[in-house]
């Protein structure tokens, strides 16, 4: 196209006058730029805004924002924090880039194309909410509340999750943070000590740190890392069991290069050694455990030699570990781990960790497992309602008992997927995804696609377009953690041996939400009104929710603001065993449910010939796929090189930096490639990569296709029999170089 005039000529002639007059008749009267009084120049308007609570990961450090002209320039730790202090991690810093990410969702959108291959059209909130409300209501009217399944994640998903569970009445809710992450740990500890353990080990004051696969340093949560480093600085010994020379293994006094999946055997041998040699804590066992005799009898077959063979490690090393623990007990920190859904035998491993802590007497003592005594703040949400068990997929009506006896809250993911795809025992026809990316958090992506294709309606709420949002019919943009009120973070000073203090901090926006992004209370309430639940709405706004919650601690948003975002009050001594505390070493209830009452090792599937086990873990500067598109973080770690043992690499003819793809034992190939990291720091029978790369969604202009998506190769499902949670490390791969598939030497 070319115009037959020059601009100058056009502007100087009568043509302009003739053409311009009608133009003014078809423009709207309002403009976004208007006449205003002159502002003084300079940085006088710069502000430090308090009340930030990070959500680049779940640890939720307390922040302040440096704001100029309404723009967030920089994030820092809140100087008043007694948790993370002024420190925040790389991800925390990079929150600025999430806030202003070009690819972020800005307006409600409707998919006028197909699920998985969307054509998006911006629509109004009214149209979006009307559609969500009517479609979800129609599902409930036609199929019942159980016809809706929900995949939530993160602080903002709590309120909508409670709405669908409590007010609407569906059991079909599955949180990845439980079923693909920590749920097994929590329920195993509940079955042992009656409560979820968190990561509440008193590392600064311990004498020995005992890790099973924990790779602190690559897994960065600020106050947790402060505790860990303080412990090491104070002279604590570090024992790390890991097939890989992780960041923690690199600092270890004893690195146990264990065969994947055999950790329970390793701990059973340690415990058996301690029992047989009278090196356990007899006083604690006498006063605070149940079933010791039966427990000792159940594990007695686990000699050092037997475990050594099973775990492929020296018997002398297991003995050295046991001796080190015994010599320093009870001041030993047996870390419960965080992401524990590994092999489908994980409940037993977590039980072993809890029992090992018990026979060492390492509960509620300095350097052991010690829950801090934090302040009480009451949550505010939808009222609980009893919806019975009739449509609970995790309930065997013939036997009148749960299918998985010890599940985390919600319904095991696999039960929901199977029901949604098969339509049995009942139809599930609508899916709500809120802040979760089930395409990359739940194994077997094809099955997830089959679920979406079986739906009448799919809605997603997120801050970013992720792999799952391409499957939505309606996609709603949520205000990010820097733009909204919600989460109330509470806790104590990070080092339990210091002056006892408690803190309460509520998330408050550091800048207003841009575009048409909305918070979870607005979105949920508007949907609830359209589904006929207006009278059940517990709060009108998110500010009201936070204020009501804070009122239970005699605080308010205004008071917190006046206190620089964090309220601090005197704390309580956390040490000392509660009178009613008991460690159930031998659990009869588990036996009644058909599971081993004492921790039991269940072997995991071995490597098929020519394949290596695929292991994955956290990258220090990423929170899985959630931070893939962050420009700063992507620049720091743009891809996820695969760790290959140096001897294996030599036999395969692979050198450091080579580009490879993958095929798994079920024939699934990786969509993308990555580079090779050749190292002696990994066993020959495994390969390792950081999780959360290789996104398939082209809407993530930075993160798409960078590195390899390990989840796409995790197609073989293991399900933990006690909890129904997934195990994701029973998948095996070969490398593909220059189109040639390479067998991994045995």
């Amino acid at each position: 196209m070319a115009f037959n005039l020059t601009r100058r000529k056009f502007l100087q002639t009568a043509s302009l006058a003739a053409a311009s007059v009608p133009l003014s008749k078809v423009v709207s009267a309002n403009t976004g730029v208007t006449k205003a009084p002159l502002d003084p120049k300079g940085t006088a308007g710069d502000k430090t805004v308090v009340g930030g609570i990070c959500e680049m990961c779940f640890w939720r450090c307390q922040l302040v924002g440096k704001v100029r002209d309404g723009r967030l320039m920089k994030l820092e730790g809140n100087p008043k924090s007694i948790d993370n202090g002024i420190k925040i991690c790389a991800r925390g810093n990079a929150g600025v880039k999430l806030l202003y990410d070009v690819d972020r969702l800005k307006y409600p959108m409707k998919n006028v194309g197909k699920r998985g291959a969307p054509k998006w059209k911006r629509i109004s909130w009214k149209e979006a909410l009307d559609e969500c409300g009517s479609k979800l209501k129609s599902t409930v009217d036609n199929y019942g509340a159980q016809g809706i399944c929900v995949f939530p994640h993160g602080a903002s998903a709590k309120y909508p999750m409670h709405y669908f569970e409590r007010a609407v009445g569906t059991h079909n809710v599955s949180e990845a943070s439980f079923f693909q992450c920590r749920g097994i740990r929590d329920t195993a500890y509940v079955a042992t000590i009656g409560k979820a353990p968190g990561e509440k080990v008193d590392m600064p004051n311990t004498k020995v740190l005992f890790f099973i696969g924990d790779h602190l340093g690559e897994n960065v949560h600020v106050s947790h890392i402060k505790q860990y480093i303080q412990g090491l600085q104070n002279g604590a010994k570090l024992i790390v069991a890991d097939p890989r020379f992780s960041a923690s293994a690199a600092k270890a006094d004893i690195w146990v290069q264990i065969k994947p999946g055999t950790d329970t055997a390793y701990m059973l041998a340690i415990m058996n050694y301690l029992v047989k040699n009278n090196k356990y804590n007899k006083a604690f066992v006498e006063d605070h455990t149940e079933g010791f005799e039966e427990f000792a009898e159940a594990i007695k077959g686990w000699s050092l030699e037997k475990a050594a063979k099973e775990c492929d490690i020296p018997a002398a090393q297991i003995k050295e570990v046991a001796e080190m623990l015994a010599a320093n007990a009870p001041h030993v920190a047996i870390h419960p781990g965080r992401h524990v859904s590994w092999h489908g035998n994980d409940f037993q491993r977590e039980r072993a960790l809890a029992c090992l802590t018990g026979i060492l007497g390492a509960y509620y003592v300095k350097g052991g497992w010690v829950p801090p005594k934090g302040p009480k703040v009451k949550g505010v949400s939808w009222a609980k309602e009893d919806h019975g068990h009739k449509y609970n997929l995790n309930f065997n009506h013939e036997e009148d008992e749960k299918i998985y006896s010890n599940p985390p809250p919600g319904t095991p993911t696999e039960l929901i997927r199977d029901c949604a795809i098969s339509g049995k025992p009942y139809p599930i026809k609508s899916c709500v995804v809120w802040g979760q990316n089930p395409m990359q958090t739940i194994p077997n992506q094809q099955k997830m696609k089959d679920l979406f294709n079986a739906m009448d309606f799919v809605m997603c709420v997120d801050v970013m377009p992720t792999d799952v949002t391409a499957w939505a019919d309606i996609l709603l943009p949520e205000a990010s953690y820097l733009e909204r009120y919600d989460y109330i973070k509470k806790g104590t000073q990070w080092d339990l041996s210091k002056e006892h203090q408690q803190y309460i901090a509520a998330r408050m926006p550091l800048v207003p939400a841009m575009f048409e992004r909305k918070d979870q209370v607005y979105i949920t309430n508007e949907i609830a009104k359209r589904m006929g639940h207006a009278e059940k709405i517990p709060v009108r706004t998110i500010e009201e929710m936070v204020d009501k919650s804070l009122a239970s601690a005699n605080l308010s948003i205004e008071k917190l603001k006046a206190e620089d975002g964090i309220h601090i009050q005197p704390g309580k001594d956390p040490y000392g065993i509660p009178e009613d505390f008991s460690v159930i070493l031998y659990n009869d209830d588990l036996e009644d449910s058909g599971h081993p009452p004492a921790p039991t090792y269940k072997p995991v599937p071995g490597n098929p010939k020519g394949f290596a086990r695929l292991l994955y873990g956290r990258a220090p500067v990423h929170t899985f796929n959630r931070s893939q598109n962050n420009v700063w973080l992507n620049n720091a770690m743009p891809d996820n090189p695969v760790w290959v043992n140096d001897e294996v690499a030599a036999k395969l003819g692979i050198i450091d930096g080579d580009t490879v793809g993958f095929v798994n034992s079920e024939g699934v190939k990786s969509r993308t490639t990555t580079t090779v990291k050749v190292t002696p720091g990994i066993r020959k029978d495994c390969v390792y990569m950081y999780h959360g790369y290789g996104s398939a969604n082209p809407l993530l202009t930075t993160g798409v296709g960078t590195g390899v998506d390990d989840q796409s190769l995790i197609t073989k499902l293991a399900v933990d029999p006690e909890t129904g949670c997934h195990g994701m490390r029973n998948n095996f791969v070969k490398l593909i170089k220059d189109g040639k598939v390479l067998d991994i030497p045995a």
């Binding site: 403009t31 976004g32 070009v102 998006w120 911006r122 809407l699």
Partner: protein, 196 residues
């Protein structure tokens, strides 16, 4: 024509171009709008473009929805990715709300203007065209030239070819060409090179 009258005319053009970049809505994107649009193209001798757009509009079952889908894909969130976010900072700072956006806002303020509360970001194409319109109405021609040179053309020259290459609908291809035409100074010979 007096300088004031000429400024008013130019201001109307900027405002109209700004309107063209608003999210399509049947409330304003009606027959009158398109007739004015075709007329402007005719004045500029771009009849073929007018015919091409008219044909596309007339043949569409829901022309506004077509343009909404196209707008979303080009400027908001698209597949395989958003083609051309209409914000200066994206091209100059590789981010929304970068330093460039701050500099743009500072320029507005220097000239006695500010952003409305519900406005988009200051470096959005719509607001920059609105600002040019307001500045021209005040006969601040040096200010207009300075803004165009320092804060508009540097990013628009990166934005324009993206839309030209990525557009599926002729409407936006022509709109960005019009904006280019009205914001680009000719060289001394009156020649206006078209990089797009």
């Amino acid at each position: 024509m007096s300088p004031e009258e000429q400024s008013e005319d130019i201001a109307r053009v900027y405002r109209f171009l700004s309107q063209c970049m608003q999210y399509p809505d049947a409330e304003w994107m009606d027959e009158d709008f398109f007739n004015v649009f075709y007329s402007l193209l005719g004045t500029l001798g771009a009849v073929n473009d007018a015919v091409e757009i008219k044909k596309k509009i007339d043949q569409a079952e829901d022309p506004v929805e077509d343009l909404q889908v196209e707008y979303t894909r080009l400027f908001i969130n698209g597949v395989p990715h958003v083609v051309a976010p209409p914000y200066g900072s994206v091209y100059m700072d590789k981010s929304l709300q970068g330093t460039f956006a701050g500099n743009t806002l500072a320029f507005y303020r220097d000239k006695g203007f500010a952003m409305e509360e519900n406005a988009d970001l200051p470096d959005h194409l719509i607001h920059e065209l609105e600002f040019l319109s307001l500045l021209t109405l005040e006969n601040d021609l040096p200010g207009e030239e300075e803004f165009l040179t320092k804060l508009f053309r540097p990013w628009y020259e990166k934005f324009h070819p993206r839309v030209t290459e990525g557009a599926h609908h002729p409407f936006y291809r022509v709109v960005v060409q019009l904006i280019d035409f009205f914001t680009k100074e000719e060289d001394k010979d009156g020649f206006q090179p078209n990089k797009a």
